[in-house]
């Protein structure tokens, strides 16, 4: 049975996939739906939602269209979520594979580095990194990846440790393949599946970390993000709570969708392993 067929048997996975598909569609279509800068001032300040059909979700304290901000904000959230996860998996899988395959001193050194990173809470690491280097999208991505790569590293190492004793690895050695080639072309592709299953959790975490960073004013102030929208609405929380609730809901739905998608994915992957 193919992976897709197995995935489609998990209802939560399908729900997650649907949510993600909608989000990606919104993110891609945002510049077409709302061609103006989402931060431009288009109406009277603090229009309540559902009162003016030109501004269905109302306006914020400066009179900016909340719906346009929400749509454009999804771009930042998804971009940062996926980019940070990609970076974390790339770094983590490489480090884990090298550590697991080389063993000995290299393994010891690399895993102690992983331990060192794991002792610092990922959010604090990101906070320190961004406040020192300065807020911009690539820096935020790197900062989040810095706190997230240790999980994939440990997982990849554990997989590699069990795989490197397999017959096909021994066979590859016998035919004289370079160790690096064995590690990255023979072992890593087989060790990657469980690591990829972890990626959904990392994406969800990265989206939340990005939101928290921009909530604290450490995002790029020239683009709109859901975290900065919540922070902006916080000043009028008592009188116009919708300004914080709407992006907050978007955040909940996104993280939930990504997480459920990941659940479905890891279920589908583990079914395959049972059959092996």
């Amino acid at each position: 049975m193919s992976l897709i067929a197995r995935f489609s048997r998990s209802p939560e996975g399908l729900f997650g996939a649907a949510v993600l598909a909608v989000l990606i569609a919104v993110a891609l279509a945002a510049p077409l739906l709302f061609p103006r800068d989402p931060l431009s001032i288009v109406g009277p300040a603090l229009t309540a939602p559902f009162t003016d059909w030109a501004l269905p979700l109302g306006t914020d304290r400066l009179g900016r269209n909340v719906l346009a901000e929400l749509a454009h904000g999804s771009r930042a959230s998804l971009l940062v979520g996926f980019a940070a996860t990609l970076a974390a998996i790339l770094i983590g899988a490489s480090v884990g594979t090298i550590a697991g395959f080389a063993g000995g001193l290299v393994d010891e050194v690399l895993m102690r580095v992983v331990d060192a990173f794991q002792t610092v809470p990922g959010f604090l690491l990101a906070l320190a990194f961004v406040s020192v280097i300065g807020a911009s999208l690539p820096v935020v991505v790197l900062a989040i990846a810095l706190g997230a790569w240790t999980g994939p590293a440990r997982l990849a190492r554990a997989e590699v440790l069990s795989l490197r004793e397999r017959d096909y690895v021994a066979a590859a050695r016998v035919i004289g393949m370079h160790p690096a080639e064995i590690a990255f072309r023979e072992i890593l592709p087989n060790a990657l599946a469980p690591v990829l299953a972890l990626s959904a959790v990392i994406v969800a975490g990265a989206i939340l970390t990005e939101a928290a960073l921009s909530f604290l004013g450490l995002g790029d102030p020239n683009i709109v993000t859901w975290g900065s929208m919540i922070a902006e609405g916080r000043a009028v929380l008592r009188s116009s709570p919708f300004l914080s609730i709407i992006p907050g809901l978007a955040l909940v739905v996104t993280v939930l969708g990504v997480y459920l998608f990941g659940e479905g994915l890891s279920e589908a992957l583990s079914r395959r392993q049972v059959r092996l």
Binding site: S40, R61, L62, P221, N222, R234, A235, V236, L237, S239
Partner: protein, 536 residues
């Protein structure tokens, strides 16, 4: 059994207290000040150096002005807008080379030593002139202070110094320090900068970092029957949203300096027992200003600066960002300085077409994507309103084709970037007008003499004509002639736009109605609160 007796006694005294507390508000109705009680106030920052003679800023005054007093305080009805404090009379000589202060009799420091003219002479020569941020300018030409007797101090200046300036500067710059604690020590590092000793109505009692400052009644205060309160407790509440709910829960009784966000004022003003007061900040007008880096090629062009001024909708800023709690600015001197204010300076009305035309004239045509050029915009992080105005300014400039990229920094990084590194094109700043243009306003446009001084001209602007007016006014003793010079100054600034004044605002105090004598002078939040009282 004994246990029962004790508890019954406690019960009795408690019910007596309860009776008393219901009786007191009725007494209060007659506006007779109630003695005693503790006033709990929100503090939103914790200054490291609390010495107001060195750091003359409102964050420091808010706490220290109750402990250390100036020679005179601002007043709504006093002569020249002043009420006596440590000095009872003051007079400038006709040639502007001396000023005589008669000091108050029978004043003692909190440690029991008498207050004399030696303390004033020491403070003026050793602290105000060399160390204080504002005093450096006001007392620049102070040469010596004569003390013929313990109650007279005569200030002698090397150049004519207008007494109008000295008088206007008295409340903010003349906090008197005890000579016996500071003489011969490293003044900037003296332990008394944290554990204040003064002559004021309250003694500095305790500071717990992150929690509170506690001031308690000075039993030997010179003001008869003052102070009314037993204690003032400043609760550190850095979160602005927390101040509003703390007031509603009666955990605090007063929040000054707009600690309650403007957006919350409308709601909180309807809560029973809470009052929103916009009076009491007339002597501390804050100005919302666009600082301009004249080293940037585009901004050195007057037409571009005029275009930026035309692109800003001051009415929108006042109505939407300040929710009406501000006034549109007309120039560099605010309207509530009637002594100097000149309404006839050139105005830059909100006019997008004119702004676009000016930019075209200046030779910056729109490129294919509609932008003319890109600028770095650094909004000061000190107030909610300054950052919000930064977001607005970016949009207002986008309309006329200027792409302003915002960079958000914390206070330290912002000051470093703007005032030391000059790594900005335009910045948003909230300077303060302190009663006289010479105190903290002229420095915003005068050719810079030192780098790194916050709220001074660090934009590389240099205009010999404006410099000459400022320098002349500093040594013009005749009040009429001096006011005339400052009118020319306002005209010249409005014509050449070294910076753009957008709005001017005072802060808002929110207090429980149980607190009385609030906002009864133009610098109330930073005055001594000796007559403030609360219902028992």
């Amino acid at each position: 059994m004994t246990k029962f007796l004790v508890s019954r006694r406690t019960l009795l005294s408690a019910s007596a207290a309860l009776l008393a507390s219901t009786a007191l508000p009725r007494l209060a109705f007659g506006q007779d000040a109630v003695k005693g009680g503790r006033l709990i106030v929100a503090a939103d920052s914790e200054p490291r150096n609390l010495n107001p003679a060195i750091v003359a800023s409102n964050g420091v005054f808010f706490i220290s002005s109750k402990v250390i007093e100036p020679l005179a305080e601002a007043s709504f009805d006093g002569e020249n807008g002043l009420a006596p404090r440590l000095a009872t009379a003051w007079e400038g000589s006709a040639d502007g080379l001396s000023a005589t202060f008669t000091l108050r009799e029978g004043v003692t420091w909190h440690d029991g030593k008498p207050f004399t003219s030696d303390d004033v002479a020491f403070s003026a020569l050793q602290v105000w002139k060399p160390l204080q941020n504002l005093g450096r300018l006001v007392f620049a030409n102070l040469e010596s202070v004569d003390t013929p007797d313990p109650l007279t101090a005569i200030f002698r200046f090397s150049k004519p110094t207008p007494f109008q300036l000295i008088r206007n500067a008295l409340p903010a710059t003349t906090s008197v320090l005890p000579k016996h604690l500071y003489d011969g020590t490293d003044i900037a590092a003296n332990p008394a900068n944290a554990q204040l000793v003064g002559t004021g109505p309250f003694k500095f009692t305790e500071y717990k970092p992150g929690e509170y400052y506690l001031l308690s009644r000075n039993e030997t205060y010179w003001g008869e029957g003052e102070p009314n309160l037993d204690e003032i407790l400043y609760r550190v509440l850095p979160d602005r949203a927390a101040a509003a709910s703390a007031l509603e829960a009666e955990e605090i009784q007063l929040a000054a300096f707009s600690a309650v966000p403007l957006a919350d004022l409308d709601r909180i003003s309807k809560v029973d027992g809470i009052e929103v007061i916009s009076k009491g900040y007339e002597g501390l007008t804050y100005q919302l200003v666009v600082e301009i880096n004249h080293r940037t090629e585009q901004l050195a062009n007057l037409k571009v600066r005029q275009a930026i001024a035309h692109a800003i909708d001051k009415k929108f800023v006042v109505d939407t960002i300040f929710l009406g709690y501000a006034k549109p600015a007309t120039g560099i001197v605010p309207q509530n300085a009637p002594e100097f204010y000149d309404a006839s300076v050139p105005q830059y009305d909100f006019d997008v077409d004119k702004a676009n035309a000016l930019l075209d004239e200046a030779g910056y045509a729109r490129s294919a994507d509609g932008t003319r050029f890109t600028l770095r915009l650094l909004p000061a992080p000190y107030f909610n309103e300054t950052t919000q105005f930064g977001a607005y300014l970016r949009q207002a400039l986008a309309v006329v084709g200027i792409d302003a990229q915002i960079a958000n920094n914390d206070s330290a990084a912002h000051q470093q970037a703007v005032y030391t590194d000059h790594a900005f094109d335009i910045a948003v700043a909230p300077p303060v007008f302190r009663g006289d243009p010479a105190i903290s306003t002229a420095i915003l446009v005068r050719t810079a003499t030192a780098e790194g001084v916050p709220f001074s001209n660090q934009g590389g602007y240099s205009n010999p004509a404006i410099d000459k007016i400022i320098d002349d006014a500093l040594v013009t003793v005749d009040e009429k002639a001096r006011t005339e010079l400052y009118n020319q100054f306002q005209q010249a600034v409005a014509e050449d736009l070294p910076l753009i004044n957008v709005a001017e605002w005072g802060f808002i105090t929110v207090a429980r109605t149980s607190v009385h004598n609030v906002s009864n002078n133009p610098r109330w939040a930073v005055s001594n609160w000796a007559d403030t009282w609360i219902d028992g």
